[in-house]
Symmetry: none
């Protein structure tokens, strides 16, 4: 509720997180107006410039948007450029949706040539396959099949990935942080299995995505094939020259 001026955490970061929590908890809804900068400044006993520092960060992340002369509002936009490299769980969390998963398959297999090429590992070397149905607020959104090299993250499958975020485990347990990705997106009609899992009535459009994720050292972390429901998912990308 309150900000702590003695904390080593800067005030503008504290305020930023406080606002995010309020949005997550549903105390602030999309298109709700925030208190004005001057009000927030008085309310939390900090200067307006510090308030602005917090708000501008959130605007840059797409959580808020501003209208000069009117006020600052909570965005509806789900996915912003900065979150492009987060996993499904993080994306859903940001969008204020409950992310969950149903694990369809979780095994270790020898790398088929195609997958080995994507992962840049020798053919037939150990590859972890994790196939999950992704849900947001209990409604199916995507089928995701991730391939990871067993060398990079042995024992990965000891986790229960129906609850846990893959990216969180990679980061916290193996120190693997994605920093770039090459992605291919195309539209297609859902096949029978996809329609069944995603609870679609054919004909229905889906978004097929392939993604190769790398860390700072340019090592391939994962190769993912995803199929998203066309009506429930939009893909945002920020491109730079």
């Amino acid at each position: 509720m309150e900000l702590n001026a003695n904390s080593p955490i800067p005030l503008y970061i504290q305020l930023k997180e406080l606002l995010v929590r309020q949005i997550r908890r549903g105390e602030l809804h999309p298109h709700d107006r925030l208190p004005s900068e001057r009000e927030l400044s008085e309310q939390y006993g900090i200067s307006r410039m510090t308030v602005r520092q917090a708000l501008q960060l959130l605007v840059k992340e797409g959580v808020l948007y501003t209208a000069a002369g009117k006020g600052t509002y909570v965005s509806e936009v789900l996915f912003e450029q900065d979150h492009a490299l987060t996993g499904f769980s993080e994306q859903m969390q940001r969008a204020n949706l409950r992310a969950s998963s149903r694990v369809l398959e979780a095994t270790v297999i020898p790398a088929a040539p195609y997958v080995a090429g994507k992962l840049e590992v020798p053919p037939h070397s150990g590859v972890i396959l994790l196939k999950r149905l992704r849900l947001a607020n209990e409604k199916p959104i995507a089928i995701e099949t991730a391939y990871l090299s067993q060398n990079l993250c042995p024992d990965l499958l000891k986790h229960d990935f129906s609850q846990v975020s893959l990216y969180a485990v990679l980061r916290e347990e193996y120190g693997l942080v994605p920093t770039s990705a090459l992605q291919v997106v195309e539209a297609a009609l859902a096949n029978v299995e996809e329609a069944r899992l995603l609870e679609l009535h054919p004909p229905a459009a889906v978004l097929r995505m392939e993604r190769v994720t790398r860390n700072v050292q340019d090592v391939v972390l994962e190769y993912v094939e995803s199929v998203y429901r066309g009506d429930r998912y939009k893909f945002y990308a920020h491109l730079r020259a």
Copy 2:
């Protein structure tokens, strides 16, 4: 060289562009240290907070990086190749396909509120609408509707855009170079008009794309709505953290 306090362009944007120009011209090299914030502040006669505003923008864009207690430095990765920001013609050329277009509509209209918002221009101001059917090797691939502010490129429509690349004209005639874009992609079923133009037999999947393109100064160059044939087009994107 100097900053103009009377300009409608904010000082921090002016400084930001000035620094970018210096880097582009090679007056500042990767890993060079910039003058300290206090020096820049004195040098250009603006306050340190304004200098910081410019620097922080560039840090966020990856042009600069900072080291607390040491200084601010030029990043190495400024001019990374990314083909994502080229127009349709350039993309096709790279894929070794003959690009052509059929102009479906080319007019000037008053900006509807939605389009005005995307272009960040006043409602009802003059907007150029250019709707084209895009072909690769004479086969239809996409329907593209571009909106541009008439202020930025008056007389744009004197060109015959069935032959000429829009991006080429913008660059060569108006000096407008896209450097960033925010893009939204989703899958959908083709409607009747789309199916007819794209020569599809329903039901068929299409890729819908919206894109807002900006130049270095963050001015919106164009807002484009595109519909691609799902079976003939894949969308590539390179993402960076």
